[in-house]
Subunit: 244 residues, 2 copies
Amino acid sequence: MTLKVVSAKLAAEIDKELMGPKVGFTLQQLMELAGFSVAQAVTRQFPLDKTSSEKTNVFVIAGPGNNGGDGLVAARHLKLFGYNPIVYYPIRSSRTEFYKQLTNQLEFFKIPVLSQDNSADWKDYLKPEKTLCVVDAIFGFSFKPPLREPFSSIVNELHKLQETVPIVSVDVPSGWDVDKGPVEDIYIDPAVLVSLTVPKPCSELLKSGKTAHYIGGRFIPRDFANKYGFEPFNYEGTDQILKL
Amino acid sequence: MTLKVVSAKLAAEIDKELMGPKVGFTLQQLMELAGFSVAQAVTRQFPLDKTSSEKTNVFVIAGPGNNGGDGLVAARHLKLFGYNPIVYYPIRSSRTEFYKQLTNQLEFFKIPVLSQDNSADWKDYLKPEKTLCVVDAIFGFSFKPPLREPFSSIVNELHKLQETVPIVSVDVPSGWDVDKGPVEDIYIDPAVLVSLTVPKPCSELLKSGKTAHYIGGRFIPRDFANKYGFEPFNYEGTDQILKL
């Protein structure tokens, strides 16, 4: 039987093997490609209106782990694509020097990076009339409920905002259980989901037809996908995303 | 005055600053993007003929330094894009563990990687009737003539072959002086040049109209380009290359 989705547990195994000694991908490579694919999905879904320069902001909320790193990379590419990204990065990862470098790169591109200190009012920077979408890069396939502060408050705010500004979730809508979907009464209901490598079970709970579902993270060969029980996706040309 | 090209010396300064403590790009990130752009240029210039599966090979020759690394990354993306890359990597870099990982990644994708040992007859693997192009990723902007073995012999062979199989040079046609162009009687005359970040002076010596010239390596902001005296390129959408 061919899997359409892989569980949180299997996703962790895939990730581990991809960065293990045999395959030898590095986090930096995979994150660059994943972040690029998120930026491409945003561009596909929310093309810049060349006749108007009013609405070019993309508000990226980056979590403390690798999902957040994907968001930081996506912000940099979005700037190169002509967007005006603003990043809210409340809990900065200190696990490796590389995370510090990712934020240096954003400064190099003059992309504002808000931290918890200067953003008691991060919402003031999220101006709906100027914002095409919010990128939810808070938590990915290794998240386990419940949400804790400051992220539970952030998700509450996004819940209020999501009818006004569409949300693009990276891999998993933040706060959702990876396998079971929404577990709280108040949850993010993304307008766009960008699944990385292969969708997770919670993606099957998206309201059909309402959420645009993209796959990104084009970096595995067919054999590897088959070994884990799924088929690779038929990306076109050099595209790093495919709309499902 | 706006520069159209930057010298070998300036290119080295740009590279150093991009990977310096302030900007904080890593080699792994820049190489992933550069290699991706080379693969995209190959795809744009030599699209796969979907009606025929005869001619899908791309023969990548990787040098011992970072230009070679770009070639290794390009080979991996080309495989994902449906091509059949074959890599000749005669002198393998041992400068960092990362280079070993790049070749592991190729094995993971079942891409043949020939070394000097198993390829006294590397040319036997380069079958013109099956090969869309040769990617010359031997030397880049830090090369100083003269060519030494085994690369002088390889360039001699490519010189003989180039009327039959088009050559795609990465950043600099290998063997050319970065600033002055061809310095030997026998030299590579590429069908395609993919300049990275900004063209080098030797690119102005390409026979006008004969060589398709692409720019790739889309990873610097406008201010940074201007600081070094050139204008950034008007890439379209999410493209990682632009045909000049």
